[in-house]
Structure formats: structure tokens, C-alpha cells
Amino acid sequence: MSKITFPRMGESYRTFKMFLEDLGNEVVVPPRPSKRTLDLGIRYTPEFACFPLKILMGTYLETIEMGIDTIVTSGGVGPCRAGEYAMLHHKLLSDLGYKVKMIVIEPPRLHPFNFYKSVRALNKARISIKGIIAHVKRAWRKLQALDNLEKLSHIVRPREINRGNTTKVYRKALEWIDQAYTTEQIVEAESTALEALNSIPQDANRNVLKVGIVGEIYVLLEPASNLEIEETLGNLGVEVEKSMFLTGWTRDNSWNETSEGITVKEAASPYLPELIGGHGRDSIGHTVLYAKRGFDGIIQLAPFTCIPEIVARTILTKVSKDYNIPVLTFFLDEQTGKAGMNTRLEAFVDLLKRKKQFQSGIESFTC
């Protein structure tokens, strides 16, 4: 039987694995991107390819070693490079002599036939359309549970009394959701997990800074690519809010713009009225919205050479001035080191603290 794999983005792999297995595939879960993944990826991809493309190339090579022969991935119509990744990956892999099948899922609205074909190819168990829809719904619920758990961990971590508690509980809770299969189980696992996180001893009076994270979706969602920035920030006593989640993003793309999407677009339009592909416009819109909601600072995460984020960064300088909110950008690639990143983060958090202290006129700001 053919073995199948897919791109890994954060914890979402737990859902995709379940869904693909439901359709009757033998699934190889892509391992967490490691140093070796990066090394492999870099060796065989162009120097200025985006960082996500490099990591994925490494992942594909690793899973090929594990015996996969089919890769399912998303397509897209751009205007950014992500829509053409699959094509390049396929060419690079065949150039290396690997014969793998690529199932590229295109947006159903634009390529209904292609979408249908991909779904058929994945549907090994020959499940009826109704059955597939039920599986999608359940998978979606699981994805939401995973996202909700992560969101709560961002709130609890900066307030925990014993360092590392949150991360430990979070890891465990992820497994509970992973084990859940039916919708009822998923809902139950989710509430137990949320409860467990909430019952971590916290210091309610701690003065916690709030930072919004904007940027390109892959580096936002895959901790291995952003060097676990959320954890680091949490440990520095910062509550983070990520502007994008798979459940908050897939919806935008396949169910048209949601109410959320529209406000982000509107917020961005005085600065960038054009959709430039990737998440450039969202980065600007979210920054404006975070500033309006009174956040203390913004961190932009972008892959090195990422075109839309470079455009966004150029404009963010102005947004930052207009709204008086500090913005720190990381252009990430294989050379970004954790130590360097932490130093920059510590300095940034210091700056935010001093700014807040100055603004509120408090003499002693204890944290």
C-alpha cells in the first residue's frame, strides 16, 4: 500500500493524520523539523527560496527515507511563491531521482475539477461524499480544539508561578486531544485539557505585557521554524496573541472573507490597499488592530526573502510611528540562532516595559 505524508505545521499534524487515515491511507507523520531536516532541505533547494520551502524539502526527504511515495500538499494561485512550491518540490525530487506522487489540493472555488480529482485520489476507502463531509467536520473540530488549547497556553504561561509548568501540562494535554476520535471525545478531551491548563498555579497580579505576533503563516505556526518564540516570550512574562491560526485562516480562504477578515483588510487599506499575496496585508491590518486594542508591542515573523513581508515591513515602520507601537521583525532562516533571537527579544521586552512604565507613570513596575 502506498504511504502518504503531508507538510507539518505546528500541532496540526495530529488532525491531518487522523483525517487521512479516515480516508483509508497509510500515513507517515512528518517528524518535527530538526537540524538534520534543515541541512537536508538547504542542500537541495535554491539559496533564496523561502524558508518554509527549504524546511518542507527536508521533511519530504526525511519521509522518503521512511518509505513514503505520495505527498499531499496545498496549491494556491499566489500571487505568492507558496502556490508554486509543489511544482518546484516535485521537480527537485525527480531531479534527485525520487519518484513520488504529489497530490496538490487547489482551492475548490477556482479549480473544482482538480479539487475533486485530488479528493478522489486520497479517498482510498471509497467513502461517500456524506461520509467525507462528516470526517472533515470532525477533523475541523479537532483542529479547533488544538488551536484553543494553544491560545490558552499563551495566556497562562506568562502568569505561571513555577517556570515550565504550562509547557509540561500543554504537552500532556495535546496527547489527550490526539487520542480523542469521535466528536464527543474531542469535545471532552478539549474541556479537560483547558481545565488542566487553567488549574496551573498562577499569579493573577503579575503585570503582564501583551504582544501581538503577525507575519507569514508557516513561520507563525511551526515552532521549529520560529525557534519557539512564543514559549520564550511567555517565559519572559509576555502574553502573546498570534494573528493567525489554521482554523482562523482556512476559513478566510475557503469560505470567502469572514467578518474578521474584512476588518483586517479595512484596517490595512489606508496603508496597503492592494492584496499582495502571502500575508503582507494581514500583517499590516493586524498590527493596526492590535495597536487599537492597546497591545504593548508587535513582533513580525517572516521568512528570509519573503516578498510580501518585506513590503509589509517597509510600511510597518510608518504604522509603528502613527500608532506609537514598537514593532520588532525577525527575518528567519537557517542561520537564525536561538541565542541571538533571545537577546533581541529580551531587549525588546525591556523597551516595552520601560515604555509602559513611562506611560502609566508608575515608579516601581514589578514583574
Partner: protein, 330 residues
């Protein structure tokens, strides 16, 4: 005194300047350009633009800096799509916004959106809108646009008969003022974006250097669009999304297939996003044509005259020796 509109000599300049100039002159507006790229322009651009931006965008910033105090308007249209199929690199799409939000003291920026996917008359509408800024009637804008299109056609014909943009522009002004150089012994394809190849400052005089080494060049702009369109998607499941990259890949495929060239160069800018795909696709294609040597030249703001010359000379030498050796074998 006539109103002055500034057009930076960068990015789309090499493709559309004749049209823009003709249009503005026809509606009674004076056009001012920023002239050739210089060291100062580059330095200004490097200072004003984001460090992570590509060289061509930095240079564009530099040109704007050089123009902004001399003109009443800056013309930085938001060119999204002109052929209903491919769009321009996202940096072109956000260009007016990047400029507006990072350079201070700008005159009004004309950033009309040009997107032919919006309908058959989208372009005409865009130009009448520009005309209305200068109080030109719809009718006179229409006439000016028609005339400008004819100028652009003449320009494109000149390009397709083998002239480069600089030569073609002077031929438009003074027909017959240039004569064709003698047939060179070697012919190279130079693939890349027009704003890199023809900007003699960024390309470190690439075309001139080749000419002095006795090498004739053919570029994407020299090829008729019909022949390019014929290449379809170059054997890929999807075409490249970006206009210039798509054209460059098609040109590379066509020229490889025709086999009339002795070598191919791909000029790419440091940090260019689309080129990471384009270059790889050309490189993979080049592997199939062992008899046509291929080389990638990367330029950035520090590329030096000497380094470029050495690499070019070595490549030309290698191609020459190969050609002689092959001739002996025959």
C-alpha cells in the same frame, strides 16, 4: 509653465517609458526622468529602503529620492496585470505604498491601479483617470492613449528587431540614427529582468562588456510575444505567476530549443524571491542541453567591476574554445 511629472528610470521604465512619455506629452504635461543610475542614487536607495529588499527596489527608492524635489507629481502606477494572466512581483504591487510610507517630502504620487483583468477597457480607463488629474478631457486622454500605444508598438518592434531599450528609445526620437553592429562570432542569450539587464549600473555594464568581447546578445525583449506564448507553461503544471519571470522562463525554453545560441546567462539579483524558482527551473532545463553552456550571474549592491569581468571573460573563453573544438571535430 507646464506641469512636471517625474518618472524614475527604474523597474518598469524599460518597458513602458515610451508609452508614458508620449501620453503625458500629448496631454500637455512635461515628463522629467531621474537619469541613469549612479553611485549616489544607489546609496540613497540603500539608505531609504529596507535592508532586506532586493537591489532593484532599493534602486527605485534612490531614483525617487533624486526626483522628488524637482517635479510636481511622481508617477508610480500600481501595475498589477496587463495580460490578464500573470501579475507582477508583489513588490511592484505594493510599490506606491512602500514609497509613500517610507519617504517623506514627496509630491503627490499618481498611483493609478492598472489591472487588465477588470475588463477590456481597464487600461483606457486608468489612463483617462490619469488625464483627469491634469484636466484633460476624456476625449483628449483617449486620443493621447491611442497615440501612446502606437508609439509603444513602434518601440516594441524596434526591440524585437534586436535593439536594446536604450537604442530603441533613441531610434524612436531619431529614426535611422544607429546602424547595426557587424554580425558577432558568438551569440549569447541574456535572461533576466529588464531593469537589471539594461541598467548598466546594476548589471556592471554586462551588455557592453559582452559586446567588447565580441559576443552578440539576445534578450527576452528581443523575442516576439507570440513565440513566447507558444511555449505554454514550459512543461510545468502551472505557469510562473509573475509576468517577468514567466516571460524569462519562456524565453529560456525557446532559445534552448531553437539552439541558435552559443551560451546562456541568467542575471539575477541578490534576494530576489521569484528568481529562486525561475533560476532553478532554467538550471534544470539547461541540464538537458549539454551543448549550450549556462551560467548564473548574481548581482547585489556590492558587485564589483573586476569580479564580473573575470567571470564573464572566463565564460566567453570557455564557450569559444568549445566552439573551436567542436568545429575541428566536424
Amino acid at each position: 509653465m507646464a506641469v512636471k511629472v517625474g518618472i524614475p528610470n527604474a523597474l518598469l521604465y524599460y518597458i513602458y517609458y515610451p508609452l508614458w512619455q508620449a501620453f503625458f506629452n500629448e496631454i500637455g504635461v512635461q515628463v522629467v526622468t531621474s537619469g541613469k543610475t549612479t553611485k549616489d542614487i544607489l546609496n540613497n536607495g540603500v539608505r531609504e529602503a529596507l535592508a532586506d529588499a532586493c537591489v532593484p527596489v532599493k534602486i527605485f527608492f534612490g531614483h525617487v529620492m533624486g526626483l522628488k524635489d524637482r517635479v510636481d507629481y511622481l508617477f508610480i502606477p500600481r501595475v498589477v496585470c496587463v495580460n490578464r494572466k500573470t501579475i507582477y512581483c508583489p513588490k511592484f504591487l505594493g510599490l506606491p505604498d512602500m514609497i509613500r510610507h517610507s519617504i517623506t517630502g514627496l509630491p503627490p504620487v499618481i498611483d493609478i491601479r492598472m489591472d487588465s483583468r477588470q475588463g477590456y477597457f481597464a487600461m483606457l480607463k486608468a489612463y483617462t483617470e490619469i488625464g483627469s488629474i491634469f484636466n484633460a478631457s476624456k476625449h483628449s486622454s483617449f486620443r493621447a492613449y491611442k497615440k501612446a500605444c502606437r508609439t509603444l508598438n513602434r518601440y516594441n518592434k524596434l526591440l524585437q528587431s534586436g535593439w536594446n531599450p536604450h537604442e530603441a528609445m533613441s531610434l524612436l526620437r531619431k529614426p535611422g540614427s544607429l546602424s547595426k553592429p557587424p554580425e558577432p562570432s558568438l551569440n549569447f542569450a541574456v535572461i533576466g529582468y529588464p531593469y537589471n539587464i539594461y541598467d548598466s549600473f546594476i548589471s556592471v555594464n554586462l551588455l557592453d562588456k559582452l559586446r567588447r568581447l565580441g559576443v552578440g546578445t539576445i534578450t527576452t525583449e528581443n523575442i516576439s510575444p507570440l513565440l513566447l506564448a507558444w511555449q505554454k507553461n514550459c512543461g510545468l503544471p502551472k505557469r510562473l505567476f509573475w509576468t517577468f519571470s514567466d516571460r524569462a522562463l519562456k524565453a529560456a525554453h525557446l532559445l534552448f530549443k531553437q539552439g541558435r545560441i552559443d551560451g546562456m546567462l541568467h542575471l539575477t539579483a541578490f534576494g530576489c524571491g521569484p528568481d529562486s524558482l525561475l533560476n532553478k527551473f532554467i538550471e534544470l532545463e539547461a541540464k538537458k542541453y549539454k551543448n549550450i553552456p549556462f551560467m548564473t550571474l548574481m548581482i547585489d549592491e556590492h558587485t564589483g567591476e573586476a569580479g564580473m569581468s573575470t567571470r564573464l571573460e572566463a565564460f566567453v573563453d570557455m564557450v569559444k574554445r568549445r566552439k573551436e573544438a567542436l568545429a575541428c571535430l566536424k
